[in-house]
Protein backbone atom coordinates (compact mmCIF):
# COMPACT_ATOMS: atom_id res chain seq x y z
CA UNK A 1 0.00 0.00 0.00
CA UNK A 2 1.25 3.46 -0.85
CA UNK A 3 2.21 5.91 1.86
CA UNK A 4 -0.13 8.75 2.78
CA UNK A 5 2.80 11.17 2.60
CA UNK A 6 3.08 10.50 -1.15
CA UNK A 7 -0.50 11.61 -1.86
CA UNK A 8 -0.90 14.77 -3.90
CA UNK A 9 -3.68 17.36 -3.97
CA UNK A 10 -6.60 15.81 -5.84
CA UNK A 11 -5.63 12.22 -5.04
CA UNK A 12 -8.13 9.92 -3.36
CA UNK A 13 -6.99 7.99 -0.33
CA UNK A 14 -8.10 4.78 -2.00
CA UNK A 15 -10.88 3.68 -4.31
CA UNK A 16 -14.16 4.45 -2.52
CA UNK A 17 -14.87 2.04 0.29
CA UNK A 18 -18.43 0.75 -0.08
CA UNK A 19 -19.93 -0.59 3.13
CA UNK A 20 -22.22 -3.63 3.08
CA UNK A 21 -25.94 -2.71 3.28
CA UNK A 22 -26.78 -1.34 6.74
CA UNK A 23 -28.42 -3.93 8.99
CA UNK A 24 -30.31 -3.59 12.24
CA UNK A 25 -27.62 -5.66 13.95
CA UNK A 26 -25.01 -3.07 12.87
CA UNK A 27 -27.01 -0.40 14.71
CA UNK A 28 -27.69 -2.57 17.77
CA UNK A 29 -23.96 -3.32 18.02
CA UNK A 30 -23.14 0.38 17.71
CA UNK A 31 -25.75 1.31 20.32
CA UNK A 32 -24.15 -1.16 22.73
CA UNK A 33 -20.57 -0.13 22.01
CA UNK A 34 -21.22 3.62 22.08
CA UNK A 35 -23.84 3.75 24.82
CA UNK A 36 -26.23 5.71 22.57
CA UNK A 37 -29.49 3.85 23.11
CA UNK A 38 -31.79 6.42 21.54
CA UNK A 39 -34.49 4.00 20.28
CA UNK A 40 -34.94 5.75 16.90
CA UNK A 41 -31.76 3.86 15.89
CA UNK A 42 -33.01 0.40 16.76
CA UNK A 43 -36.79 0.15 17.28
CA UNK A 44 -39.19 0.75 14.37
CA UNK A 45 -42.14 1.88 16.51
CA UNK A 46 -40.02 4.53 18.21
CA UNK A 47 -38.66 5.75 14.88
CA UNK A 48 -42.21 6.01 13.51
CA UNK A 49 -43.37 7.88 16.60
CA UNK A 50 -40.59 10.36 15.85
CA UNK A 51 -42.01 10.82 12.34
CA UNK A 52 -39.38 8.73 10.57
CA UNK A 53 -40.15 6.06 7.96
CA UNK A 54 -37.98 3.60 9.90
CA UNK A 55 -34.92 3.36 12.10
CA UNK A 56 -31.95 5.52 11.10
CA UNK A 57 -28.26 4.94 11.71
CA UNK A 58 -26.50 6.95 14.42
CA UNK A 59 -24.68 9.82 12.72
CA UNK A 60 -21.67 8.77 14.76
CA UNK A 61 -21.85 5.26 13.27
CA UNK A 62 -21.29 6.69 9.79
CA UNK A 63 -18.67 9.14 11.07
CA UNK A 64 -16.89 6.30 12.86
CA UNK A 65 -16.93 4.16 9.74
CA UNK A 66 -15.53 6.94 7.56
CA UNK A 67 -12.50 7.36 9.80
CA UNK A 68 -11.34 3.86 8.97
CA UNK A 69 -10.16 5.09 5.57
CA UNK A 70 -7.25 6.54 7.57
CA UNK A 71 -6.53 3.60 9.87
CA UNK A 72 -3.97 1.92 7.56
CA UNK A 73 -1.83 5.09 7.73
CA UNK A 74 -1.60 5.48 11.52
CA UNK A 75 2.10 4.56 11.51
CA UNK A 76 2.74 7.74 9.47
CA UNK A 77 0.71 10.09 11.63
CA UNK A 78 -2.69 10.58 13.19
CA UNK A 79 -5.97 12.40 12.68
CA UNK A 80 -5.55 15.83 14.24
CA UNK A 81 -8.88 17.29 13.15
CA UNK A 82 -12.05 15.46 12.17
CA UNK A 83 -14.93 17.77 11.36
CA UNK A 84 -18.26 16.52 10.06
CA UNK A 85 -21.63 17.99 9.14
CA UNK A 86 -24.47 15.48 9.07
CA UNK A 87 -26.54 16.08 5.94
CA UNK A 88 -28.92 13.20 5.49
CA UNK A 89 -30.32 10.15 7.19
CA UNK A 90 -29.01 6.63 6.71
CA UNK A 91 -31.66 3.89 6.65
CA UNK A 92 -31.53 0.11 6.86
CA UNK A 93 -30.25 -1.49 3.62
CA UNK A 94 -28.57 1.74 2.47
CA UNK A 95 -25.20 1.21 0.82
CA UNK A 96 -22.80 3.87 1.99
CA UNK A 97 -19.66 4.85 0.05
CA UNK A 98 -16.79 6.51 1.88
CA UNK A 99 -14.38 8.84 0.16
CA UNK A 100 -11.41 11.05 1.06
CA UNK A 101 -9.62 13.39 -1.35
CA UNK A 102 -6.52 15.48 -0.64
CA UNK A 103 -7.43 19.17 -0.63
CA UNK A 104 -4.25 20.73 0.81
CA UNK A 105 -0.80 19.56 1.75
CA UNK A 106 2.14 20.93 3.73
CA UNK A 107 5.23 19.19 5.10
CA UNK A 108 3.46 18.85 8.45
CA UNK A 109 -0.08 17.87 7.55
CA UNK A 110 -2.42 16.73 4.80
CA UNK A 111 -6.04 17.94 4.58
CA UNK A 112 -8.75 15.79 3.08
CA UNK A 113 -12.28 16.51 1.97
CA UNK A 114 -14.30 13.56 3.17
CA UNK A 115 -17.78 12.49 2.18
CA UNK A 116 -20.14 9.58 2.72
CA UNK A 117 -22.82 9.08 0.07
CA UNK A 118 -25.73 6.66 -0.18
CA UNK A 119 -26.62 4.38 -3.11
CA UNK A 120 -28.39 7.31 -4.82
CA UNK A 121 -25.18 9.31 -4.63
CA UNK A 122 -26.72 11.69 -2.09
CA UNK A 123 -24.22 12.88 0.55
CA UNK A 124 -25.21 11.84 4.09
CA UNK A 125 -22.24 13.53 5.72
CA UNK A 126 -19.39 15.75 4.61
CA UNK A 127 -16.40 17.29 6.22
CA UNK A 128 -12.68 17.64 6.72
CA UNK A 129 -9.88 15.45 8.04
CA UNK A 130 -6.48 16.93 8.85
CA UNK A 131 -3.89 14.19 9.10
CA UNK A 132 -0.81 15.23 11.07
CA UNK A 133 2.56 13.91 9.95
CA UNK A 134 4.22 15.17 13.13
CA UNK A 135 5.74 12.84 15.67
CA UNK A 136 3.07 12.68 18.36
CA UNK A 137 5.61 11.34 20.89
CA UNK A 138 6.77 14.91 21.25
CA UNK A 139 4.23 15.89 23.85
CA UNK A 140 6.09 19.04 24.78
CA UNK A 141 4.35 20.43 21.72
CA UNK A 142 1.01 20.65 23.54
CA UNK A 143 -0.88 23.66 22.36
CA UNK A 144 -4.26 25.20 22.85
CA UNK A 145 -6.68 23.27 20.70
Amino acid sequence: MSLIVNKKVGDSLRSPLILPPVTRIDLIKYAGASGDFNPIHTIDDEAEKAGLPGVIAHGMWTMGNLAKLFTPYLEEGYIKTYQIRFLGMVFLNDEISLNATVSEKTTEEISFEVVATNQEDIPVLKGLVIFSLNDSKNESSFHEL
Binding site: Y30, S34, E46, M60, G64, F86, S141
Partner: protein
Protein backbone atom coordinates in the same frame (compact mmCIF):
# COMPACT_ATOMS: atom_id res chain seq x y z
CA UNK B 1 -34.44 30.00 25.77
CA UNK B 2 -31.08 28.43 26.71
CA UNK B 3 -29.37 31.82 26.63
CA UNK B 4 -28.90 31.64 30.41
CA UNK B 5 -26.98 28.36 30.21
CA UNK B 6 -24.16 29.56 27.95
CA UNK B 7 -20.74 29.03 29.57
CA UNK B 8 -22.22 26.50 31.96
CA UNK B 9 -19.71 23.76 32.79
CA UNK B 10 -20.15 20.19 33.96
CA UNK B 11 -18.19 18.54 36.75
CA UNK B 12 -14.95 16.77 35.71
CA UNK B 13 -15.16 12.99 35.40
CA UNK B 14 -12.31 10.47 35.30
CA UNK B 15 -12.56 8.08 32.33
CA UNK B 16 -10.18 5.14 32.02
CA UNK B 17 -9.71 3.92 28.44
CA UNK B 18 -10.54 0.24 28.70
CA UNK B 19 -9.15 -2.28 26.23
CA UNK B 20 -12.47 -4.17 26.09
CA UNK B 21 -14.45 -1.00 25.37
CA UNK B 22 -12.12 -0.12 22.50
CA UNK B 23 -12.38 -3.65 21.10
CA UNK B 24 -16.16 -3.56 21.15
CA UNK B 25 -16.17 -0.06 19.61
CA UNK B 26 -13.86 -0.95 16.70
CA UNK B 27 -15.93 -4.10 16.16
CA UNK B 28 -19.08 -2.00 15.91
CA UNK B 29 -17.58 0.22 13.19
CA UNK B 30 -15.77 -2.72 11.56
CA UNK B 31 -12.37 -1.09 12.04
CA UNK B 32 -10.60 -3.99 13.72
CA UNK B 33 -7.00 -3.00 13.01
CA UNK B 34 -4.00 -4.34 15.01
CA UNK B 35 -3.01 -0.78 16.00
CA UNK B 36 -6.18 -0.73 18.13
CA UNK B 37 -6.24 -4.26 19.52
CA UNK B 38 -2.92 -6.14 19.15
CA UNK B 39 -0.73 -5.43 22.19
CA UNK B 40 2.54 -6.28 20.44
CA UNK B 41 1.71 -4.09 17.44
CA UNK B 42 0.78 -1.29 19.84
CA UNK B 43 4.03 -1.58 21.75
CA UNK B 44 6.12 -1.49 18.59
CA UNK B 45 4.13 1.39 17.05
CA UNK B 46 5.16 5.05 17.06
CA UNK B 47 2.70 5.51 19.94
CA UNK B 48 4.25 2.82 22.15
CA UNK B 49 0.78 1.52 22.98
CA UNK B 50 -2.52 0.65 21.29
CA UNK B 51 -4.56 3.75 20.49
CA UNK B 52 -8.26 4.55 19.98
CA UNK B 53 -10.10 5.52 16.79
CA UNK B 54 -10.89 9.25 16.53
CA UNK B 55 -14.61 9.04 17.35
CA UNK B 56 -14.06 6.87 20.45
CA UNK B 57 -14.45 9.82 22.90
CA UNK B 58 -18.20 9.71 22.20
CA UNK B 59 -18.39 6.93 24.79
CA UNK B 60 -16.81 8.99 27.59
CA UNK B 61 -18.71 10.41 30.54
CA UNK B 62 -18.45 14.22 30.50
CA UNK B 63 -20.35 14.83 33.72
CA UNK B 64 -23.65 16.64 34.06
CA UNK B 65 -24.84 20.19 33.86
CA UNK B 66 -26.57 20.60 37.17
CA UNK B 67 -29.71 22.31 35.89
CA UNK B 68 -29.79 21.86 32.12
CA UNK B 69 -32.22 19.20 31.05
CA UNK B 70 -32.39 18.07 27.46
CA UNK B 71 -34.64 15.27 26.29
CA UNK B 72 -32.70 12.43 24.67
CA UNK B 73 -35.40 12.03 22.05
CA UNK B 74 -36.18 14.37 19.18
CA UNK B 75 -32.78 16.03 19.00
CA UNK B 76 -30.81 16.04 15.76
CA UNK B 77 -27.04 15.74 15.71
CA UNK B 78 -26.06 18.45 13.24
CA UNK B 79 -22.29 18.65 13.40
CA UNK B 80 -19.42 16.95 15.19
CA UNK B 81 -15.75 17.92 15.41
CA UNK B 82 -12.72 16.39 17.12
CA UNK B 83 -9.35 18.13 17.53
CA UNK B 84 -6.45 16.09 18.86
CA UNK B 85 -3.04 16.99 20.29
CA UNK B 86 -2.21 13.30 20.05
CA UNK B 87 -4.15 10.02 19.79
CA UNK B 88 -5.71 8.54 22.92
CA UNK B 89 -3.85 5.50 24.27
CA UNK B 90 -5.45 2.42 25.73
CA UNK B 91 -5.16 2.25 29.50
CA UNK B 92 -4.73 5.94 30.13
CA UNK B 93 -6.79 8.07 32.50
CA UNK B 94 -8.59 11.01 30.93
CA UNK B 95 -10.42 13.75 32.79
CA UNK B 96 -13.46 14.90 30.84
CA UNK B 97 -15.96 17.70 31.12
CA UNK B 98 -18.24 19.71 28.87
CA UNK B 99 -19.37 23.27 28.47
CA UNK B 100 -22.28 24.95 26.69
CA UNK B 101 -20.60 27.15 24.09
CA UNK B 102 -23.55 28.77 22.41
CA UNK B 103 -27.19 28.76 21.46
CA UNK B 104 -28.95 30.41 18.56
CA UNK B 105 -32.31 30.14 16.90
CA UNK B 106 -33.17 30.25 13.24
CA UNK B 107 -36.64 30.58 11.77
CA UNK B 108 -37.51 28.63 8.66
CA UNK B 109 -40.45 27.02 6.95
CA UNK B 110 -40.66 24.26 9.56
CA UNK B 111 -40.76 26.74 12.42
CA UNK B 112 -38.02 27.96 14.73
CA UNK B 113 -35.11 25.62 15.26
CA UNK B 114 -32.56 25.86 18.05
CA UNK B 115 -28.84 25.20 17.55
CA UNK B 116 -27.01 24.27 20.73
CA UNK B 117 -23.20 24.00 20.67
CA UNK B 118 -21.54 21.89 23.32
CA UNK B 119 -17.78 21.55 23.79
CA UNK B 120 -16.28 18.42 25.31
CA UNK B 121 -12.72 18.36 26.66
CA UNK B 122 -10.40 15.51 27.61
CA UNK B 123 -7.14 16.13 29.45
CA UNK B 124 -4.44 14.11 31.17
CA UNK B 125 -3.48 14.10 34.88
CA UNK B 126 -1.20 17.11 34.33
CA UNK B 127 -4.10 19.05 32.76
CA UNK B 128 -2.63 18.84 29.26
CA UNK B 129 -5.43 18.85 26.73
CA UNK B 130 -5.58 15.62 24.73
CA UNK B 131 -8.65 16.43 22.68
CA UNK B 132 -11.42 18.93 22.24
CA UNK B 133 -14.73 17.96 20.68
CA UNK B 134 -17.59 20.16 19.62
CA UNK B 135 -21.10 19.08 18.76
CA UNK B 136 -24.01 21.03 17.36
CA UNK B 137 -27.41 19.72 18.42
CA UNK B 138 -30.47 20.85 16.49
CA UNK B 139 -33.65 21.25 18.50
CA UNK B 140 -36.70 21.14 16.26
CA UNK B 141 -39.78 23.31 16.66
CA UNK B 142 -41.87 20.54 18.24
CA UNK B 143 -39.22 19.58 20.79
CA UNK B 144 -38.58 23.25 21.52
CA UNK B 145 -42.27 23.78 22.30
CA UNK B 146 -42.20 20.84 24.71
CA UNK B 147 -39.18 22.31 26.48
CA UNK B 148 -40.74 25.76 26.85
CA UNK B 149 -43.87 24.33 28.51
Amino acid sequence: MFVNIIRKRSNKVLNVVERGAVRSFVNAIDDVHPIYIDEEVGRRSRYGQNICPPTFPCIFDYGDFSDVHLPNIGLIHGEQTYHYNRPIRIGESIYCWKEVKGYKEKSGKSGTMGFLTIEEIGEDKESNKIFRAEKVIIITESVRRELIK
